[in-house]
């Protein structure tokens, strides 16, 4: 059980502190898009470790298969042919999945206590036994990641193999990557590793290569090395400056306590008005005519 791990720093729909005595180092998965050959070994490894078998789809004439994330596909490769500049074709392949935001919009939006938790190592995990299937996490996510399963109505997404990481193993996708495009370690180490990769890319004609670790969600625990870090949208619409929508902030921020208080005040106002002014009774003679 999740809370027994004692390293839960955040829990959905919970207004008191979570059991967090144990502090673990922040981890991160680094996805080096420039090294990815699109083999989908990571997709297969994810299916295998997590015992996921999505429905067999149809060939849509493109490499993307399955075409989108789903309750049973927690990571998918997204292929895009782009011309970052005229007469230069690039095939950008991005492994899409949960970014494990430091400021998770899904967790903020979730109304079910303990359906979404964030561990001190940064992994954001869904606990489907508490999920009520409302889909608010889909509304809260700035990356369009969680999916409601057609099978059971619960929300699913990449767990960053929290079960493996908890016992000192790396996520299944990392294990399977044949080119070293996927690496895993502490967030600090991954940032350092990324710097080396970026310097290499810079020297090979990618002056805008950089690390994708967006500040708008206080950083992520899945990061990308991008050849064109100035234009993340080239990579199948990776958002340039993602953050939790202000509407979600409004809905889950100030309105929750304020409106709840308003309702309480209205009820009390009625009660005290009755106590102070007394009932409004008919039949007082002054109105008889």
């Amino acid at each position: 059980m999740a809370l027994q791990s004692l390293d839960v720093i955040r829990r959905s729909a919970t207004t008191t502190a979570t059991p967090q005595q144990r502090q673990t180092p922040e981890v991160a998965k680094l996805i080096d898009v420039s090294k990815c050959i699109g083999c989908k070994a990571c997709q297969a490894a994810c299916m295998e470790w997590n015992d996921l078998r999505d429905e067999i789809g149809v060939n849509r004439g493109i490499y993307d298969n399955p075409p989108d994330l789903s309750g049973a596909s927690w990571t998918v490769m997204r292929y895009s042919e782009v011309q970052p500049e005229p007469n230069r074709l690039e095939w950008l392949i991005r492994k899409d999945g949960c970014m494990h935001c430091a400021e998770p919009g899904c967790l903020k939006a979730c109304p079910a206590p303990g359906a979404i938790v964030q561990y001190s190592n940064g992994i954001v995990d869904f606990h489907e036994e508490n999920c009520i299937g409302c889909g608010y996490c889909l509304t809260g996510c700035p990356f369009n990641i969680p999916r409601l399963s057609k099978k059971d109505g619960k929300a699913y997404k990449c767990t960053l193999c929290s079960d493996r990481v908890a016992v000192g193993m790396e996520p299944a996708c990392i294990k399977s990557c044949p080119t070293g495009a996927l690496v895993f370690g502490t967030k600090e180490d991954m940032k350092r590793h990324a710097q080396g990769r970026i310097a290499d890319l810079n020297s090979r004609g990618y002056p805008h290569a950089g690390l994708y670790d967006p500040e708008g969600v206080h950083g992520t625990h899945v990061m990308y090395v991008l050849q064109h870090a100035d234009r993340p949208e080239l990579y199948s619409g990776l958002p340039k400056d993602p953050s939790i929508s202000p509407l979600v902030g409004l809905w889950k921020g100030i309105t929750k306590p304020l409106l709840s208080l308003g309702i309480g005040v209205a009820v009390l106002a009625g009660f005290f008005h009755y106590v102070a002014a007394g009932p409004n009774e008919a039949g007082n003679d002054e109105t008889k005519k």
């Binding site: 729909a13 919970t14 207004t15 109304p111 079910a112 206590p113 508490n130 999920c131 009520i132 299937g133 409302c134 889909g135 608010y136 889909l138 509304t139 369009n144 409601l148 057609k150 109505g153 929508s245 509407l247 979600v248 409004l250 809905w251 309105t255 929750k256 306590p257 409106l259 709840s260 308003g262 309702i263 209205a266 009820v267 009625g270 008005h273 009755y274 002014a277 007394g278 009932p279 409004n280 009774e281 008919a282 039949g283 007082n284 002054e286 109105t287 008889k288 005519k289």
Partner: protein, 211 residues
């Protein structure tokens, strides 16, 4: 004019049944809706068989309430237009709250407070329906763009807040104004009640029923 204890018909059977359909569904919606609104109210999901059941039932109950509310709105629409007497009544609102109800303007079947309750619900319930459908998983939400779903979630919460406050006022007014509740439970009020609270309406119906 009749005796104080004489009974005057205020609501027909159909009106009462319709009202209580709306009332019961509204209460169920408030309980299940608050449960998903703030964690402090999450325990209320147990009234519905758990969180998942509360989530499943809430929108269906909402549709039932909207349909029954259409009936209620249609029945009472014509009687809720604001009149000059209502505007006079508003100036005396402080006196009314303090139970100093002498020499009030001649109020018809509904006073301004009741009319505001009516119009607040006429305004918020359709908004709740539309915004609710937009965030309704898994049937309707997937066809709407994410920005609209986010907006609908906020609008749904705000409209629900207004509707809940309105109903708190409505329920309190019924408790505060003695002799009102029987109008909706039994269909009749006393002549004294009608003369005191709704003299214009009382005159009208006494005229009509004079034999």
């Amino acid at each position: 004019m009749g005796n104080d204890k004489d009974l005057v018909r205020r609501y027909s059977v159909k009106e009462r049944v319709n009202h209580w359909w709306v009332a019961i569904t509204f209460i169920l919606l408030v309980l299940s809706g608050l449960a998903l609104f703030h964690p402090a109210f999450f325990f209320l999901v147990n009234l519905f068989g758990g969180g998942t059941w509360a989530r499943i039932l809430h929108p269906f109950i909402g549709v039932v309430m909207f349909m029954s509310f259409l009936g209620l709105a249609g029945r009472f629409w014509g009687q809720n237009h604001v009149t000059d007497a209502d505007r006079e009544w508003r100036k005396r609102f402080g006196d009314i709250l303090a139970n100093r109800a002498q020499d009030l303007p001649e109020i018809g079947k509904y006073n301004l407070g009741q009319k505001y309750v009516f119009w607040a619900l006429v305004a918020t319930i359709p908004v709740l329906l539309v915004s609710g459908v937009i965030i309704w998983q898994p049937y309707f939400a997937p066809v709407f763009p994410i920005g609209l779903i986010r907006l609908a979630a906020v609008v749904h919460a705000l409209a629900a807040f207004i509707a809940i406050l309105t109903i708190i006022i409505h329920i309190y007014a019924a408790i505060w104004t003695k002799g009102s509740i029987r109008a909706m439970t039994r269909g009749t009020v006393t002549a004294a009640w009608a003369r005191h609270h709704h003299p214009g309406w009382y005159k009208e119906i006494s005229k009509g029923s004079k034999s």
